[in-house]
């Protein structure tokens, strides 16, 4: 990697479309050149429901990003999410032939093929195959076991799969704007690249990205991904809950959520009411009880977190050494850290990356974590491509070969 490369990350979220242009320097550092966001329309729970509208939003973000960064964008890394995407673990076991004692590259290859061959339903396609670990005769190795002696070789993979057509639609949306898609990345995996560094993953960390319409999570233990997935509820649901229980219009409910809401369940913060002032358009003054507001928010957030917890493999929460990382726009909710602590009983962090430079304000905001993570992902993918076999990182391009 002799020269700087420019990567672009695109996230089509429920509340906003966000495009980040980053420069990966030869020394491995990343600089953000520009950022384009557009309010999202036509996206429900992370999936595109109104194609034309979404396309316009992406176009808008594209123009803004090009303007901000002064780069002509030719291709992007696209993050996708949605409740149809699931992550699962699979193990491939390969028994070495009787006369061979040393593990050869072809043995490894064979084991990997077996591992990747998980049963996924016909309409699903594989997004990622991520190598977790190798085991030789039951003994774990984190690096390639080629050359070691052993009888059985096991390879653990984390396979992420989603419904092909839905993912294809996201790609189409971008392609129609004359922009190519370099790769499709499951959102929490991209965010994790941004939020969790190597040592954090070694000790074990759970990333929860609470966005507008979905909550994505990824769990890393001993440096390898253990679980990932998506829960189709997020900040928009909180707003909707407030709207339904107070009768306030959406825009008001949204401001109320952002300005006054608190998810901690701390009763001292639920004292009194909030007066919603009269505005020019004849909206009469109302008072909403903090108790009600906070309880509505708390119940929703609690449910989301409990669902995440339930999806994780049993006993894995106890193994989280570093803690839980929160990201996404809804993680800005007051008191969410306390609530998360109540659920997971682990240290809570706000997702932040150290080695990115650029306009500070942009990447301090957890709303952009996924798009920024895509840049990191692209950088890693580049490195992989250069110093190993084409399938070293275990990703395959799901559509290219079709």
């Amino acid at each position: 990697m002799a020269r700087a490369r420019i990567h672009v990350g695109l996230e089509i979220g429920t509340s906003k479309v966000c495009m980040v242009v980053g420069e990966v320097r030869s020394d491995g550092s990343v600089k953000i050149l520009g950022l384009g966001t557009s309010k999202s329309a036509g996206v429900r729970r992370g999936e595109i429901s109104d194609y034309a509208n979404t396309k316009e939003c992406v176009d808008d973000a594209l123009v803004k990003a090009e303007e901000a960064s002064d780069v002509e964008i030719g291709s992007v890394f696209l993050s996708v999410t949605g409740s149809h995407i699931v992550g699962m673990n699979n193990t491939g076991t390969y028994r070495l032939p009787e006369n061979e004692k040393q593990i050869q590259p072809e043995h490894l290859h064979e084991a990997k093929e077996i591992a990747k061959d998980v049963h996924i339903s016909p309409d699903h396609v594989c997004l990622h195959n991520i190598l977790r670990s190798y085991r030789v005769d039951g003994f774990e190795h984190s690096s390639s076991p080629v050359g070691l002696f052993g009888k059985t070789l096991e390879v653990d993979f984390h396979v992420v799969a989603g419904i092909g057509t839905r993912i294809q639609n996201s790609i189409k949306c971008v392609r129609e704007l004359q922009v190519d898609v370099d790769d499709v990345v499951f959102a929490p995996i991209a965010t994790a690249q941004f939020a969790l560094d190597r040592s954090t993953r070694e000790r074990g960390a759970l990333l929860i990205d609470i966005g507008g319409g979905t909550t994505d999570y990824a769990l890393y233990l001993k440096g390898a991904i253990v679980a990932s997935g998506c829960i189709p509820a997020g900040g928009e649901h909180v707003t909707n809950d407030i709207h339904m229980l107070t009768g306030l219009p959406f825009s008001r409910a949204e401001t109320l959520k952002i300005k006054e809401g608190d998810a901690s369940g701390d009763q001292s913060r639920s004292v009194g009411g909030i007066k919603i002032p009269v505005d020019e358009k004849g909206f009469s003054q109302q008072e909403v009880k903090r108790e009600l507001l906070n309880e509505v928010i708390r119940q929703r957030m609690l449910e989301i977190l409990e669902l995440v917890k339930k999806r994780l493999p049993p006993g894995s929460v106890e193994q989280i050494g570093t803690g839980v990382f929160l990201s996404g726009g809804s993680s800005l909710m007051r008191g969410l850290d306390e609530l998360t602590h109540q659920v997971f009983r682990r240290a809570i962090y706000r997702a932040q990356a150290a080695e990115i430079s650029g306009v500070q304000a942009n990447f301090k905001d957890p709303q952009f974590a996924t798009a920024l993570g895509l840049i990191r992902y692209a950088q890693l993918a580049d490195v992989e491509k250069q110093n190993s076999s084409p399938r070293g990182f275990g990703r395959i391009w799901p559509f290219g070969k079709k």
């Binding site: 409740s83 649901h237 707003t239 909403v288 929703r300």
Partner: protein, 506 residues
């Protein structure tokens, strides 16, 4: 040769002003005023309870009920409060004699405060003083009796006094963060009262370059049976004019300036150091005009006080007839008006507990009518037997979970005994403690009340309807924004329906 004393500001000597603290709560407010450094003005503490009285920092103190209660408090009995005040009438009268303006600080709801304040006000008026009363109303959780006692007294005071500024303890929560200590809440309440007193005094004794004085004050407050709207704010530095105005409007008594919309006349007094500019005043008045109706009579005054240095203070005083007060905060809820009277435009009170328990119909008739009969028989009994009644009264307090901390709020000094007292009470040895407890009473009386809670229950109902939060919502089928999407099922739950509602149904 006639000497011409040049005093462009027509200063009234502060010796003509007297600040009186009546009862335990009053004493606390008075202490606060004294600690904040009110130079010049005379201070007088009145209490039946010798313990609190001796703890007061006021230079002048008069013990009430020397013969009647013998140094003890009135045990939350307004009748007794009335009697002890009458007993000390002469002493009080001579102390007030010749004062032009009297500020009376009192916590309503208990014995000394609720019983004594009307009498004291009458005495002061008879002596020709202009009487401004700063009263606190009891907390919502203190029970209905205290609220009734407070209301009775308040109604009398509204008629007797020249100006009445009411501060509802229930609103105290707005002054501090929920997490802050109770003593902070109380000192914030006392501070607000102390600031108000200072502002009025500043206005009266330093009428200023553009004169406003007692006469204007009277005009501003001239509505019969009115409650005073009051806001005062000080700020310095850049943009001090608008900051000071914002501070003044943030006073809970003004309800963020919303109540000013109803005012017929408003007194605005601006006081600043020597660097006060005309431009600042113009700016400030311009901003203020947004809150004050155009046809309102604005009484404007400005003064220079070198002690202010680079600060600027603004004081807004106005009065609203009681009906309007309720009307403005509860337009949508006509039935509730009378009931809300005690909280005086303070909006809903926020104490959740008593809210639903109490039955609504209490409030149909205007609180003014239920005068002294409202005092339950228990109180009468108390008078007969001095000791028993105290015990009773105190038992009352013990039942109320917050009674003690509250005392400690306004008078941190006295509280420890007070909180120990309930336990040691039964024994004879407790006599001393009992005295110590007394301060508690007048104070905790400020808290209070049922009427508003009663209302609250109703209010909740109505609000809910008003907000469209009716049963339809709880039927559970509505999904708001996601109504036209397919069900978002995860583990058998439709995630588009608020968990708050789903959990409720289970």
């Amino acid at each position: 040769m006639i000497e011409f004393v040049k005093d462009p500001q027509n200063t009234i000597p502060s010796s003509l002003v007297k600040i009186i603290g009546l009862g335990g709560a009053g004493a606390n407010m008075l202490d606060r005023v004294a600690l904040d450094g009110m130079e010049g003005a005379e201070m007088l503490a009145l209490n039946a309870d010798i313990r609190t009285l001796s703890g007061s920092v006021a230079p002048e103190r008069i013990q009430l009920g020397v013969n009647l209660t013998k140094g003890l408090g009135t045990g939350g009995d307004p009748d007794l409060g009335q009697k002890v005040m009458l007993e000390a009438e002469n002493a009080v009268r001579s102390s007030i004699k010749g004062r032009k303006i009297v500020f009376l600080c009192v916590g309503l709801g208990g014995g000394t405060g609720s019983g004594g304040a009307p009498i004291l006000t009458r005495i002061a008026r008879e002596e020709g003083a202009f009487v401004v009363i700063f009263a606190t109303m009891p907390f919502a959780f203190e029970g209905r009796r205290r609220r009734e006692q407070a209301e009775t007294a308040l109604n009398e005071l509204a008629v007797l006094s020249n100006a009445l500024v009411v501060f509802d303890n229930t609103r105290m929560g707005e002054l501090v963060l929920a997490k802050q200590g109770i003593h902070e809440a109380f000192s914030a309440g006392d501070r607000m009262i102390s600031d108000s007193i200072k502002a009025v005094i500043r206005l009266v004794i330093r009428p200023g370059l553009i004169h406003v004085g007692l006469d204007e004050l009277m005009t501003a407050l001239r509505t019969t049976r009115s409650r005073c709207l009051f806001g005062s704010g000080t700020a310095n530095g850049k943009d001090r004019a608008s900051k000071a105005l914002a501070n003044a409007l943030s006073s809970p008594l003004l309800d963020k300036g919303a109540l000013l919309k109803e005012a017929a006349s408003v007194l605005v007094h601006i006081c600043g150091g020597e660097d006060l500019t005309l431009y600042e005043i113009e700016l400030l008045m311009q901003k203020l005009s947004k809150y004050v109706p155009q046809k309102a009579h604005v009484l404007f005054g400005a003064a220079i006080d070198t002690n202010m240095k680079d600060a600027l203070s603004i004081t807004l005083i106005s009065a609203l007839p009681e009906e309007k007060l309720q009307a403005s905060s509860f337009e949508e809820l006509p039935g509730e008006r009378e009931a809300m009277e005690p909280s005086e435009g303070f909006g809903f009170d926020d104490m959740p507990q008593p809210a639903r328990i109490v039955e609504p119909p209490v409030d149909e008739e205007p609180a003014e009518n239920e005068i002294i009969e409202a005092v339950p028989p228990a109180v009468v009994a108390q008078q007969v037997d001095g000791w028993v009644n105290f015990q009773e009264a105190d038992d009352h307090e013990v039942d109320l979970p917050f009674a003690e901390p509250e005392q400690s709020g306004s008078g941190v000094v006295f509280s420890p005994q007070a909180s120990i007292a309930p336990a040691s009470f039964v024994t004879d040895a407790a006599r001393d403690f009992r005295d110590a407890l007394k301060p508690a009473e007048p104070l905790s009386e400020e808290e209070d009340a049922q009427a508003p809670p009663a209302v609250l229950g109703d209010l909740l109902e109505k609000t809910r309807i008003r907000l469209g939060q009716n049963d339809m919502l709880f039927e559970g089928s509505s999904r708001g924004k996601f109504a036209d999407n397919e069900a978002n099922l995860v583990d058998g739950d439709d995630l588009d329906i608020p968990p708050f509602m789903r959990k409720k149904k289970k």
